[in-house]
């Protein structure tokens, strides 16, 4: 079957989610939400009854009844296995910047702020970084402001951190403070990834192409996931799952 880039990314993210108990997805994150719901549908098919998926912007898909602190308390209890973060800048050590570009005293660009990243990055076992603009502007040698650090000293209590970074061009994994290029999406090249990445990263001598979603996965996304997404992400759902003709990828 043909598929859209969004479907490729969601499939890859769902693979990273794996078999876990609870995936939480922040606001304005339609592709991670698609991936989380896909993981849940796969869990249903295997009779697992997991993961539990919390979509933070959705009253229907969250269980919170203890106020805004509950998400963070829940993570602190070790009850959130996967979360997603992005960054105005992301550097090669996995540091993310959601605050500003330029000198702290006189920044040139201001982003909204760190949200919960300075906490969740440290306590959610699998944080999947997500940035659809893969450029030297976003993937930098060193972030100007560390909203949350990619790694910590050994004596720092840390139960979480980044495990992967997915972009519009490729997929990296993260371990021991370094990114490793795992695969390049169809239509993109390793050279292109090197050219547009501001930090050094590991890579095998032959970098495979990111595998296309299987027909089974595409059907799950389109038939089961899309209807669940429509209320929270109507525009995204319409574009990716309803009016596909306009944007097909071979």
């Amino acid at each position: 079957m043909t598929f859209l880039p969004e479907e490729l990314l969601a499939d890859q993210i769902a693979n990273f989610i794996g078999d876990v108990r609870h995936v939480a997805v922040g606001n304005a994150s339609p592709i991670p939400a698609t991936a989380a719901l896909l993981a849940r549908e796969r869990g249903k098919l295997q009779g697992l009854g997991r993961p539990y998926v919390s979509l933070l912007g959705s009253a229907k898909n969250t269980f919170w009844t203890d106020g805004g602190r509950e998400l963070f308390d829940c993570a602190g209890q070790g009850r959130i296995d996967v979360f997603f973060l992005s960054g105005g800048q992301i550097d090669g050590e996995g540091n993310i910047n959601l605050v500003e570009i330029g000198d702290h005293a006189h920044p040139k660009v201001r982003f909204p702020g760190s949200y919960g990243s300075a906490y969740l990055y440290y306590v959610v076992p699998k944080v999947i970084l997500f940035r659809t603009e893969h450029s030297r502007r976003t993937l930098v040698p060193r972030v100007d402001f560390i909203s949350a650090a990619g790694r910590s000293e050994p004596n720092v209590h840390r139960t979480g951190g980044p495990v992967a970074l997915i972009t519009n061009r490729c997929l990296f994994t993260f371990a021991d403070g370094r990114f490793t290029l795992v695969s390049v999406h169809p239509g993109h090249t390793v050279e292109e990834v090197i050219e547009h990445t501001g930090f050094d990263f590991e890579r095998p001598s032959v970098v495979p192409e990111t595998p296309a979603p299987t027909d089974e996965t595409l059907k799950l996304m389109r038939d089961k996931v899309a209807p669940q997404l429509a209320t929270l992400y109507p525009q995204f759902t319409a574009k990716v799952f309803e009016h596909r003709e306009s944007a097909l990828l071979g």
Partner: protein, 271 residues
């Protein structure tokens, strides 16, 4: 003075220079009250947005009401950056105390519990911590060379929010929005705008009582119908997306923001 007051009376305790705490967008943002504060021209607020804000902080900053902003993020969400916030920060017109969401919740809980600080995991190695000289790092006495951040309690002068319902005893139904309870517990005074006041006692009904902030903590209540507009009120009404888009467009420039304020704030009747 009676607990139930006009909007301007109820807001009279929000004077220049105080520390004011307001809730995030999904909790009942007091927008009618925000417009009234801008009309009155309150100045030099230390605004604590628990833990984030959208149009409310943007408007208060644009109107020059805020000296210090303590929050984890300000954004108009899908409508993009909060323009007056962004401009003011870049021009150095507002002093930023950047935080992270759970730190603000925890610091308010410290005030709620009457303790001087609360510990929090995470943060170590971040510049959020680096630029907060009011936050301390200690070796946990229960660990082994295990550094942990201690956040000083945030004790606001006033907590201000909007809720669906109050009763004649000042009890306010807040439903699942329990950070509103913590805000009220942590603050010296609590001012609430509500959609309506019913002649009953919410605490007499176990179903309502479970989601009620007791009037004991409430200093003033004003009725402000549709008082969160154009933002949503949980379980009551949705956001006015069209108006929010209009705001985002007009507030993109200083002049446009002034025009917006003239048209939708200054010219409006008090609710």
């Amino acid at each position: 003075m009676s607990l139930v007051q006009s909007l301007d009376e109820a807001l009279s305790a929000i004077t220049d220079g105080i520390m004011l705490v307001v809730p995030r967008e999904v909790c009942g943002v007091p927008m009618a009250a925000t417009r009234a504060l801008i009309r009155r021209g309150v100045k030099d607020l230390h605004l604590v947005a628990l833990p984030t804000s959208s149009m409310q902080a943007d408007m208060l900053i644009g109107a020059g009401c805020v000296k210090t902003l303590e929050t984890s993020a300000v954004s108009l969400g899908e409508l993009g950056a909060a323009p007056r916030f962004t401009s003011a920060v870049l021009k150095g017109q507002v002093a930023m105390k950047d935080a992270t969401c759970p730190a603000l919740h925890a610091a308010l809980q410290a005030a709620e519990k009457g303790v001087p600080f609360m510990p929090l995991r995470g943060l170590i190695g971040s510049d959020v911590l680096k630029y907060r000289d009011d936050w301390k790092v200690i070796d946990s006495p229960f660990g082994n060379s295990d550094p942990i951040v201690l956040l000083p309690a945030i004790n606001p002068d006033v907590a201000l929010f909007h809720a669906p319902l109050a009763d004649e005893y000042g009890n306010v139904w807040i439903g699942r929005q329990r950070e509103l309870v913590t805000m009220a517990h942590a603050s010296k005074r609590t001012i609430v705008t509500v959609e309506k006041i019913e002649k009953r006692n919410l605490l007499d009904d176990p179903l309502y009582a479970a989601g009620t902030l007791p009037g004991f903590y409430v200093d003033a209540i004003a009725v402000a119908e549709n008082g969160a507009w154009p933002l949503p009120l949980p379980d009551t009404y949705k956001a006015d997306g069209e108006h929010l888009a209009l705001y985002a467009k007009m507030a993109a420039s200083e002049e446009g923001f002034r025009e917006y304020v003239g048209k939708y704030v200054l010219a409006m009747q008090v609710a």
